[in-house]
């Protein structure tokens, strides 16, 4: 089996230089959106941002979920989880229903609201580069090793080692190991993750399992409903017929008596 690729971001190492931000813009041919990258936010033209919290910098980007909600909800399969790990998007299939945006637990996909032919935009984990065996542009650009790219299991191992070797520095949690079924972007940090604006109320189960439970019932409803309704039709029809016949008979016997 192909090993899934992933990104590990270590907030304790991030210097806040913004090289990832710049590299992403360049690699994806995105126009400039702000003079100050620390004030920018995710948008149709910005796939990753650097955010400054008290003494800590963190990145925000698509988490490339292991069982992505956006992929499961898309009616036409415009979102796709590739074998290598990146979650990519096909604008030619997309209807623009924006269910992916509504459903993403990390609140990532952005829309080209002002366009007449709009697309959903988000980080695609530099799929073209990753496919060719290269690393992502942001990992390559990072001067401190805060963003690194590799196999998901490798990176989990590295993250665990760092947490264990320096419990003073690290908050003891790997964000993305289990959140909503896990993600292919892993984050470790010196502070709890809600302090960095990450969703911490997510269940461990992947969210698509919630709708799967409802969708599973469909065949039952179709088969059971079909049989039930057909039976009801037949029964009630029969009942009405019998009632009508009885009425007829009564009238007949009544008129018979008359004679």
């Amino acid at each position: 089996m192909i090993k899934q690729k992933a990104i590990l971001f270590d907030a304790t190492l991030c210097a806040g230089c913004g090289e990832c931000y710049n590299a992403c813009k360049e690699a994806n041919h995105l126009p400039e959106t702000s003079d100050d990258f620390l004030k920018d936010h995710l948008s149709a033209n910005t796939y990753t941002v650097l955010e400054e919290y008290v003494d800590v910098y963190t990145r925000k980007l698509c988490m490339h979920c292991v069982d992505p909600t956006c992929v499961s909800v898309c009616p036409v399969g415009a979102m796709e989880k590739t074998e290598l790990g990146p979650v990519i998007y096909d604008g030619d299939k997309c209807l623009g229903c924006r269910y992916c945006m509504q459903a993403c637990p990390h609140h990532i996909p952005r829309y080209e609201w002002s366009k007449v032919n709009p697309k959903v935009k988000k980080c695609i984990m530099c799929y073209d580069r990753v496919k060719n065996g290269e690393q992502t542009a942001c990992a390559e650009a990072c001067p401190t090793g805060a963003t690194i790219f590799g196999d998901r299991d490798e990176l989990i191992k590295i993250a665990k080692e760092r947490l264990a070797s320096d419990p003073e520095t690290y908050y003891q949690h790997i964000y993305g190991l289990e959140e909503a079924g896990g993600t292919n972007v892993l984050i470790i940090s010196p502070v709890p993750f809600d302090q960095l604006g990450f969703a911490v109320n997510l269940p461990k189960e992947a969210l698509p399992t919630y709708t799967a439970k409802a969708l599973e019932k469909i065949p039952g409803v179709v088969a059971g409903g079909g049989v039930f309704l057909a039976a009801m039709y037949w029964l009630t029809k029969r009942k009405n017929q019998i009632a009508a016949e009885e009425k007829q008979n009564k009238i007949k016997s009544f008129s018979g008596e008359e004679k």
């Binding site: 036409v76 952005r110 829309y111 609201w113 919630y210």
Partner: protein, 389 residues
């Protein structure tokens, strides 16, 4: 004397203003995109057009399949006179939903992609298919009305043969997608205010659609009786009203049991805007109409019956907007209120729907039962007319 220029009445003026405003918003929507015409944003990607045009539109059209099931599958004959108006409402309702989707979808010209690109894991995919198929079913159920008008007996006798399987298919499709509209929200547990999130959302959506869909029949009958003086027996309508509030009450009881089982009762005593809206929804939509229509004297009074129907419909509307808009809390301080353009498009759709209903009901045999094709034997008639020659 024929009126070539329609009489100017208050409602006609209002309708014209709404349509003109709606057309302007349409122009904005298709030249400037969703950004220019709506208050939607990356934080709030679904708004009024999903909450009202789709959720309320489909829900209120549920009278179609409910009445069909009662009359044609459970063979309770006396409600037959309600079947046609209900089918017509449903058919127009679904056409408007599809029309409304054209505004809401970012790429409406790709709507047909749902036919060729499949993702059976998606609730939206299932809804799309059900709506497509059910609209076709509704068209077939509606077809006898124009066929009768133009006296096409051969086709009618064919329709009569395939009628029951079509009706059964329609009931199943409706059950599926009415509930699936609720399932759409199952996937955002972390985003929704817990008063509205529940794993039973599909069940609630189904029950409330059946209840509110039934009252739509009362609403229309009243409107059209005023418009055409072709009233339907008041007795039938008041019974429908009673059944509707019983169904809705049942839904509410299930909801309260669910609250108790999932430890949510305390939310009912937390005073905030959510709680207030929730109370408003169940008071207007269920409690008050239930309290009224349970009394024989009140439900046999036309005006009270009509008023209760309007209450149920308003409560239903509020519920769908609460689920799809109010309850969604993507982050602190993020609010959404529809833009004037979104509102005007929605109003235009409602106006077009009422107008189409009126025209069809006026010109086609919708409110008369005697000549319904179900009750006639066309083969026999054919023979009789042949033997005469």
């Amino acid at each position: 004397m024929k009126h070539i220029i329609p009489k100017i009445t208050f409602w006609r003026v209002v309708a014209v203003i709404i349509i003109v405003a709606g057309l302007y918003s349409t122009y904005l929507r298709f030249t400037g995109g969703l950004g220019a015409s709506t208050n939607l944003s990356d934080e709030f990607p679904w708004g009024l057009w999903i909450g009202f045009d789709i959720l309320v539109g489909v829900g209120l059209a549920a009278g179609g399949f409910t009445i069909c099931a009662i009359t044609h599958i459970f063979n309770i004959e006396k409600y037959k006179s309600l079947a046609r108006p209900a089918i017509l409402t449903a058919f127009l309702g679904y056409l408007l939903v599809i029309f409304g989707l054209m505004y809401d979808l970012g790429k409406p010209y790709n709507i047909w992609h749902a036919i060729i690109y499949w993702n059976p894991r998606s609730v939206m995919f299932e809804v799309a298919w059900c709506v497509m198929l059910y609209t076709t079913v509704l068209f077939l159920e509606f077809l006898p009305i124009p066929l009768e008008k133009f006296g096409m007996k051969k086709l009618l006798s064919f329709m009569k043969k395939i009628g029951i399987p079509i009706m059964i298919t329609g009931v199943i499709l409706s059950t599926l997608h009415q509930s699936s509209l609720g399932s759409l929200f199952l996937i955002v547990p972390q985003k929704m205010y817990p008063l509205w999130y529940s794993s039973l959302l599909p069940v609630y959506f189904f029950i409330s659609a059946v209840g509110a869909g039934l009252t739509m029949v009362i609403f229309e009958a009243y409107l059209s009786a005023r418009a055409f003086n072709k009233g339907i027996e008041a007795d039938l309508l008041s019974r429908i009203g009673l059944y509707s509030v019983i169904v809705l009450m049942l839904g509410l009881v299930i909801k309260l049991i669910d609250f108790a089982l999932t430890d949510k009762i305390h939310l009912l005593f937390t005073i905030n805007n959510y709680t207030l809206l929730f109370y408003l929804e169940i008071l207007v939509g269920t409690f008050v109409p239930f309290g009224l229509l349970i009394q024989k004297r009140i439900r046999e009074n036309r005006r009270w019956l009509y008023a209760s129907a309007i209450m149920v419909i308003s409560g239903f509307l509020l519920n769908r907007l609460n689920v799809s808009i109010t309850s969604i809390t993507p982050g602190a301080g993020i609010k959404y209120f529809p833009s004037i353009y979104e509102i005007s498009v929605t109003l235009m759709l409602v106006t077009l729907g009422m107008w189409a209903f009126k025209i069809i009901a006026k010109n086609f045999p919708v409110f008369s039962t005697e000549m319904h094709y179900e009750n006639r034997d066309y083969e026999l008639e054919q023979k009789v007319s042949e033997s005469k020659v």
